[in-house]
Amino acid sequence: MPPRPDEPLLETLDLTKVFTIRQGLAVTHFSAVDGASIALRADTPTIYAVAGESGSGKTTLARMVLGLETPTSGRLTYKGREVAKLTPSEKRHWFFREVQPVFQDPFATFSPLKRVETYLVETARNYRDARGAEIDACLDEALGVVGLSLAEVRGRYPNELSGGQAQRISIARALITKPSLIVADEPVSMLDASLRMSILNLFKELKDRQAVSVLYITHDLATAYYTADRIAVMLRGWIVEAGPVEEVLGNPLHPYTRLLRESVPQADPDKAWTVDQTMPKPAIRFPLAGGCKFAARCPAAMDRCHREVPAAYEVDGRRVKCFLYE
């Protein structure tokens, strides 16, 4: 169903996911995602990057968007409907048609014992109402978009393909349903550097020519900068800064974003580090209640940062979760 003009394509409001870890009699609550709020517009296709290090919660966020995890609290809506409340039948008939995943490891995406085209055939049969020769045409079309053809792919097992090819086939499968949103979890991190560009360029093309929005999860800031329009930077479940990518990465406001950006080794010896960065103190894994999660390592930490949690303040068209910008 077509979205209302002002209704976002994807929206999360204060989204939280808490994992309960039991070790013997001790129980710990671990907030993988903590009050995350992002929004993707419906009117223009966007590539929205969610960037962070390991443990930042970006993968959990992606899985909640895909419906593979249920939120502990907060709202997650796609085209106005709450994803967590969809029945399996609604998911199969509507949601999977609209939202499709691309996973990190192209070789884990397919069963090693099956030919890869079986997944594409299954998707076509379920979502394009195709039979017989129509299915082949459908597959050829989708594979064509990613630069492959059915003849090349037919009969192949995953281990006969290269990482780049397998990932493209994974994207082609996602395209068969003609989705509005693709959730890509670290889609290029397992590929060779020289091949990443082709996949990233493909995402840009999908946005421009096929009107597909992409939620791009990554730890690699350089690829986010190249591909995305907007970016949200995550730290231990929080979104600490969100906004247009050229501004957030070109002129980072949040101290953590700054630290991240400075720590990326650039592939240019002229931009090599000249000064040693002082290592931030090791982070406490489960902070005591209260306080900014970055306070222990922040060069600009004030007294109140250890006691109060900052809100997300609007600055220059972005949102920054830091007292410096109150």
Partner: protein, 286 residues
């Protein structure tokens, strides 16, 4: 099939097992052309040692040991086959349902399975057999053994499916629009097959062992010929004390040979079907 050809070529274990099993099957085939009815007694001179006329000699009931053995092998295999089909069949189904659906289904089924595991099988079987004494046919015995042997296997299948469910390709299948049943059958079952085959063989051997145990104790179908009943009657007529070794040697040797044959064949088969070696083979050729 190409599989069998490959197996025979590369797996010495399978070759060995296959030869033995071929011999066993020959025996089973011979049982259909046996000149003697398995239930008939005093058809040949009693207690004769092995000779050209009676290859394995004759027993105290006046039966030819060799031909009785062919029937015994056939019957024992039938009992075991039934037991395995029923037992592992239930085990696989319950295990896969439990593993994939999770939640309340899993909890209920697991509780059921756990209570079954606690039941001591041999004593129960002895009890039931003793109660049903005289009315226990081979088929009933097979079904009974099967009904007691699904619990532990089902736990193993459940744990396999639990791991498989977490693998990314399960999600791919979900997002391709497949329904749960199809996912379990097409995505997960292929991984379970080598495990299943090994399990079938071990179930088979367990059932044969159980049948022999019961019959030796005199609780099986004493009128029919089986490996266990041959041993029972051999003991009953004190074959060992009277130095008529051949009466016992035949069924005992046959039991051992069958077990060994199945075991080796299954070892060869499971190594071949293991997804890891299967991948290695595909890689080498590809």
């Amino acid at each position: 099939m190409a599989t069998i050809r490959d197996l025979l070529r590369y797996s010495p274990a399978f070759r060995f097992g296959a030869i033995i099993l071929a011999a066993v099957l020959v025996l089973v085939a011979l049982s259909f052309v046996s000149p003697f009815d398995p239930e008939a007694r005093r058809v040949v001179p009693r207690n004769q040692s092995p000779s050209w006329q009676h290859l394995f000699g004759t027993n105290s009931q006046g039966q030819d040991v060799f031909w009785m053995l062919t029937h015994a092998v056939r019957n024992s295999l039938v009992v075991a086959g039934l037991a395995v089909l029923i037992g592992r069949g239930i085990g696989v189904l319950l295990g896969m349902i439990s593993g994939y659906l999770g939640g309340a289904w899993d909890r209920t089924l697991s509780a059921l399975v756990d209570s079954f595991i606690v039941i001591p099988r041999l004593p129960l079987l002895i009890l039931v057999a003793a109660i049903l004494r005289g009315e226990l046919t081979l088929v009933t015995l097979g079904i009974l053994i099967g009904l007691l042997d699904w619990a532990i296997p089902s736990k193993r299948y459940r744990s396999q499916v639990l791991t498989l469910r977490e693998r990314e390709f399960t999600n791919t299948a979900v997002f391709s629009g497949s329904r749960s049943f199809k996912i379990v059958m097409k995505e997960h079952l292929p991984f379970l097959i080598p495990f299943l085959l090994a399990d079938l063989v071990s179930g088979f051997l367990f059932a044969i062992g159980l049948e022999i145990t019961l019959s030796v104790l005199g609780l099986g179908d004493m009128n029919a010929q089986s490996l266990g009943t041959m041993i029972y009657w051999g003991n009953y007529y004190q074959s060992l004390l009277a130095n008529r070794v051949w009466v016992l040697a035949a069924p005992v040797a046959a039991s051992i040979v069958i077990v060994i044959g199945f075991y080796f064949a299954s070892v060869g088969l499971t190594t071949y079907l293991d997804p890891r070696t299967r991948l290695a083979r595909i890689q080498v050729r590809g």
